[in-house]
């Protein structure tokens, strides 16, 4: 199929798809008038029932906590998959550390990037801790905070050299961190069964509404998710960086 024919076929199909979607969306409630019972009930009961102020976190880590456990395992499996796909292949070896680009010289890091990276890293790390630990009170949580923490590590790489990251962590430590994060979520779920109720039931003391020690299991789950996401993302990052900085074709063989 030539690109031109492909484009024509697509435009016809896409027009039909857009038409059917517009027809379907026409049957939905008008924008701004949604009145789904489940969400509105949660908005009313979550605060008194669970002593939690962020109802989105209550849905994710309490009322639908089991679904989020699945989501966490999706992320974990994807990190494993990337590590597997990007492992040192046949015909490759781990070379000495050096930035490398095909067909061009790698420019040195500018002073502006170095200074900005150094200035931004401490606030990024501090902010990530705040976002993880306050996930049950204000917008945020383990997923968001974990991503911000991994951004802090990326800033260190951008401002310095790949070598600088080696003083921060080792790959086995990251792998253990991600595994402990996932296992921690399951362990918190088992607390409910140990207490004689259901898996992931919120059985811990609920505390005073609005306090950092409140909402029972939710802040603990946020901590374990934060650990899993931060460790997993840094592991992803390391795997991609290895492709350009460490892994080299064996000389004398085509890649």
């Amino acid at each position: 199929m030539t690109p031109r024919v492909r484009r024509v076929v697509f435009l016809v199909a896409a027009g039909a798809l857009a038409g059917v979607l517009a027809w379907g969306f026409g049957g939905l409630p008008r924008f701004g008038t949604f009145d789904g019972a489940y969400g509105q009930i949660l908005n009313h009961v979550a605060v008194p029932q669970r002593h939690i102020t962020d109802v989105v976190a209550a849905v994710n880590f309490d009322y639908r906590g089991f679904d989020t456990l699945g989501e966490e395992f999706i992320f974990f499996a994807a990190v494993l998959g990337v590590a597997l796909i990007l492992r040192t292949q046949r015909g490759e070896h781990a070379g000495h550390l050096a930035d490398h680009a095909t067909g061009r010289a790698v420019p040195p890091t500018s002073d502006a990037v170095r200074v900005l990276g150094l200035l931004l890293t401490p606030p990024a790390v501090l902010f990530s801790i705040y976002v993880v630990t306050h996930g049950h009170l204000t917008p945020g949580g383990g997923f968001q905070g974990g991503v911000i923490l991994a951004t802090g590590v990326l800033l260190i790489y951008l401002a310095g050299e790949f070598d600088d990251l080696h003083g921060l962590y080792t790959e086995p430590a990251l792998e253990r961190g991600a595994a402990v994060g996932v296992a921690g979520y399951v362990a918190i779920g088992l607390l409910g069964m140990a207490a004689g109720t259901a898996f992931l039931d919120n059985v811990l003391p609920l505390g005073r509404l609005g306090s950092i020690f409140s909402a029972g299991t939710v802040p603990l789950i946020n901590l374990s998710v934060g650990l899993e996401i931060a460790a997993g993302l840094v592991l992803l990052l390391t795997n991609f960086l290895h492709q350009t900085i460490v892994i080299r074709p064996v000389v004398g063989r085509s890649a």
Binding site: F10, F31, G32, T33, G39, A46, V82, F143, G210
Partner: protein, 115 residues
């Protein structure tokens, strides 16, 4: 307003698919898939919106204040996480494809047997 609110996800879906179908580069194709995936986030947030309502976070507003739907917001978090993992896996595959074949053009890949 309804037309715009529901039109944006349709547009994102179709324009992202156009990017995937006509793409000449795997990286561009993966980003096009992210555009397709953004349409579901926009649709979820659109569906859950209530006029004049606050965010479903009762840290500094009275618990009786009307708030938008928290369930779709929780779903859009799932959406973001799954989208990021799909992109990461596809990018890893693209790295290996480029190493083996020396190209990222999907059409060239079909013509060129693996080295």
């Amino acid at each position: 307003m309804s037309v715009l609110a529901y039109g944006v996800p349709i547009w994102l879906l179709v324009v992202g698919l156009y990017g995937i179908v006509t793409s000449r580069n795997l990286l561009h194709q993966i980003i096009s898939l992210s555009v397709v995936q953004a349409s579901t986030s926009v649709l979820l947030l659109t569906v859950g919106f209530r006029a004049g309502a606050a965010a479903p976070v009762f840290a500094d507003i009275p618990a009786t204040r009307p708030a938008v739907d928290p369930v779709v917001q929780a779903l859009s978090l799932t959406d973001a996480v799954v989208g990021a993992t799909v992109s990461a896996l596809l990018l890893a595959v693209a790295v290996q494809v480029h190493k083996r074949t020396g190209t990222l053009d999907p059409d060239a890949l079909r013509r060129r047997p693996e080295r």
